[in-house]
Symmetry: C2
Subunit: 229 residues, 2 copies
């Protein structure tokens, strides 16, 4: 029986843009597991009531229900140890836990402040009011005001990727010669703005862009082939 993934979607059900859901999709593909995704919208809280919480990614694997992208990665690694490893062992897992927190705490806020208006534009009508009010409360300004001047902030945001560039000087992937969950983490982070916005965050000549293409080509082009706006 395939694993079921509840996957954040826009008005177009094929537009799947959650950074955390992308991490999970790449992790499932890395493990060679078959998945059936269900498009889910922010306001579909009731659909997830069986899990006792209201966020995606959420997977159902037979009797097991697991949510939170990091918890799902650990679940997959523990449950399918004979499939290709996501972490390469406990020390790798612990280091990737750091990288997960680094991506979330360092990169995400700046991305949101550049593309939050574009996210709103792709949402299903039923999600738009919820998204606008919750995000405007969190950001302390209208979505339009938040993204204003994003061109001027791009260079400083790109500088945050310096440690990625340093690692890519000597290795093709954050996982080394091949991908690990560290690649899935950062790919999810960068796939999110790519799916919802025509505002390009990576310069074409950035080594991170070349790496992004390499990861996008993995697993039959899973990431590269995603629907984008």
């Amino acid at each position: 029986m395939p694993i079921t993934l509840y996957d954040l979607a826009g008005a177009d059900p094929a537009l799947r843009f959650s950074p955390y859901c992308w991490r999970t999709k790449l992790a499932l593909a890395h493990k060679g597991l078959t998945v059936e995704t269900i498009p889910w919208r922010f306001t579909d809280k009731a659909v997830l009531a069986f899990s006792g919480q209201g966020k995606v990614p959420l997977i159902v694997d037979g009797e097991r229900v697991v949510f939170d992208s990091w918890a799902i990665a650990e679940y997959l690694e523990n449950t399918y140890p004979d499939q290709p490893s996501l972490f390469g062992g406990p020390a790798g897992r612990a280091a990737m836990r750091f990288i997960n927190g680094w991506a979330d705490s360092t990169l995400h806020s700046g991305i949101a402040r550049m593309v939050v208006r574009d996210i709103h534009a792709v949402l299903a009508a039923k999600d738009q009011a919820y998204f606008r009010s919750s995000r405007e409360a969190a950001l302390g300004a209208t979505l339009e005001a938040v993204v204003e001047g994003r061109e001027a902030r791009l260079e400083a945001w790109r500088a945050l990727l310096t440690p990625v560039r340093l690692a890519l000087r000597t290795q093709a992937f954050l996982g080394g010669e091949g991908p690990s969950y560290a690649d899935h983490i950062l790919f999810g982070t960068l796939q999110w703005p790519r799916c919802v916005s025509s505002f390009a965050l990576l310069a074409p000549d950035d080594p991170v862009a070349a790496w992004f293409s390499r990861v996008g080509a993995l697993y039959g082009g899973l990431g590269a082939g995603a629907r984008t706006v």
Copy 2:
């Protein structure tokens, strides 16, 4: 025969403060290897001439000469595979390569701008003129001007450690339940200002401070017992 390590020292030969040499000392201890350190000063370039370069850490292990803290860690892991692992495998090593670049590119500049005057104060007389002129050229200001107002910059610098705090919410070490080279990387970074300055970078109630104490207590208190100013 013990491994020889050329280790940056101050006027007091027992004051060893290089972040990169600390990484190497912890890596050697992690591997259970016996080491004999030789105090080295910035202007002792001729002493290292046999290696074809002029920087420490540098180790001599029998016939082998290895320099650069990352290269030394890889050398130790490859040469002593039956001793406790630094990386826990290729995926861990690749993730720690990222963490190494993160520490160097994100934390070091801010630390230098807070303690560079204090470093100058502890140096051997023969190093002081070299250090002042090279650092003032690089920083574009006098050492005294660079550190001025450091109290006001401390909070922003501490915020850079957020991803460490996130990781430490669920694990005692960056290596997980026990230390890996990821811990040695960050410990070296933070031991550097601790050894040369009375200006405390970590707040006492910061979880990073508790972690720093845990790592300092490892290997017979190697880090905690270091000479400081």
